[in-house]
């Protein structure tokens, strides 16, 4: 079974092609938010690199969020249209699950943190067992200090990864001290191959999304909706 994975949830654009137990190709571009220009050429190039046509792909995995609203939309619009035209199954993988997968197998708790602006990170907590990663908490957006308060209570070592590390490493280190550990640079950001690994599992279980109803997992409402609801409550 061959899967094509597509990730543009963060400033990284990633595309991988995985054939069961073999990563055939992985492209990773960490050049900022120009996914609109780069994502589709990257998909084309990745396919050409392994001399495969889209029609020989069995499934597409897409990073569904949370992440940059615009990035998520570019990734999902691309994945849905490829799926619709070529008649390929589509599976949606939570961005934090795919990111945590970079560290699958380590003994410590895994805490992916993605820059969510407004002084917050998108996060969830994971623990590896012998076969897979188990998510220990809800997907949420909160401030690094609130996150550290929760983690301190657990009293166990935690390894952080994600682009939130660049922004909040010092704060977290000062709050958690030796409890905090950091992923190595090559595992720190979303990798399309990790996304593909999780996507393959879904495909093998026969899962597939309905592209006509599939939406990004934004986690947050739009500002306009938040304001509108706040205004309505006051009235």
């Amino acid at each position: 079974m061959i899967i094509l994975s597509i990730d543009s949830a963060t400033p990284v654009a990633g595309v991988a092609i995985v054939d069961n137990n073999k990563i055939l190709a992985e492209n990773f571009l960490n050049t900022g938010n120009t996914h609109s220009e780069k994502l589709l050429p990257l998909i084309k190039q990745t396919l050409e690199g392994v001399k495969l046509e889209l029609k020989s792909i069995d499934g597409i995995a897409v990073s569904i969020g949370p992440g940059s609203f615009t990035g998520l939309r570019i990734g999902l619009a691309t994945a849905k249209a490829l799926s619709q035209v070529a008649g390929i199954k589509l599976v949606a993988i939570p961005t934090l699950d795919a990111l945590a997968q970079n560290l699958a197998g380590i003994a410590q708790l895994i805490c992916p943190i993605l820059n969510a602006r407004k002084g917050e990170v998108y996060t969830a907590l994971y623990q590896s067992n012998s076969v897979e990663l188990i998510r220990q908490s809800e997907y949420t957006a909160l401030s690094p200090s609130a996150l550290c308060d929760e983690l301190r209570d657990l009293g166990k070592p935690v390894t952080f990864l994600g682009d939130g590390v660049f922004e909040y490493k010092e704060i977290i280190a000062s709050l958690l001290g030796s409890q905090a550990h950091w992923a190595s640079l090559h595992q720190l950001l979303p990798r399309a191959a990790s996304l593909a690994v999780l996507g393959l599992k879904e495909l093998e279980q026969g899962k597939g999304e309905n592209i006509f109803t599939l939406k990004p997992f934004y986690l947050r409402k739009s500002e306009a909706e938040i304001k509108w609801e706040a205004g309505r409550c006051q009235r």
Binding site: T34, S36, E37, K38, L39, L40, P41, I43, K44, L54, F69, T70, R73, I74, L76, A77, T78, A79, K80, A81, L82, Q84, V85, A86, I211, F212, T213, K215, P216, Y218, S222, E223, A224, E225, W228
Partner: protein, 339 residues
Amino acid sequence: MTDTIILAVETSCDETAVAVVKNGTEVLAEVVASQISTHQKFGGVVPEVASRKHLELINISIEEALEQANLTFSEITHFAVTYGPGLVGALLVGVATAKAMAFAAQKPLIGVHHIEGHVYANFLTHNDIEFPVVCLIVSGGHTTLVEITDYGKYQFLGQTRDDAAGEAFDKVARALGLGYPGGPKIEECAREGSNTAIKLPRSWLEDGSYDFSFSGLKSAVLNYLNKQEMKKEAININDVAASFQEAVIEVLSEKTLRAAKEAQVKTILLAGGVAANKALREDLSDRCSKLGIRLVYPPIKYCTDNAAMIGCAAHYKALRGEFAELNLNAVPNLKFGVS
């Protein structure tokens, strides 16, 4: 050249639109999923909300369009998409979708300028337009005057320096408590009012300029409403609507006619959402017939944002071999007619 069967996508603002157009004139399918009811509670289009909605509506709209046309993806010869101007997040959904479709179907991609699309709504529905023409494009996002000497050949004459005409309609409608979208509501009220009841300014700008300005007019209406309120005097909404509409139309018509005379063209095209305004059509039509100029405008459904007009514009781009690459990006402030 063999037939073109173009699947066109338009998501620049608050309509998710998909059409299939054959050879630039035959609309085989058209789907417009309007978001008006979604945005009504916010009193206008909210970009983030619009972008989310486009992504939810786009694939099902494409499916419906193919069903209407009774075609499969493999029978589509080109994929076309609006890539600007417009709301960037909204445009990106259409652009990403169209690019992926073109890549997956291995067919050429065509990027279309939204305003050029509005112009081509005329060619979609009239096959006897003779160049050169002068075209007035008026909508919520644009007020532009161009001379067109051939397919794809534009001589830019002028545009608004502040609010677009349709934007002024929306803002005045909001001030009058008429809601969103404002254009049709103002037009409705204006029919019952006197267009000379309230003295409002006309902004002609410098001598010979084909630019427009509507912010002064909008402010004058708001000032009038404030003054009446302070004096505790009644406001006749119909009179305000009629006087405001008249002030907009007079400037639009005058400048368009002057441009047509100066360029010595025999045809004027009207395009864009405000081209649906009957009072504007009648005023221009009266003035044109006095001068022996032909006035052409699209049916109302092709005045507002739609994808059929994008498919028509794309047909002529296909004939000229103007294709886009897979790195096509959305350009929110894409210029038109300025080379």
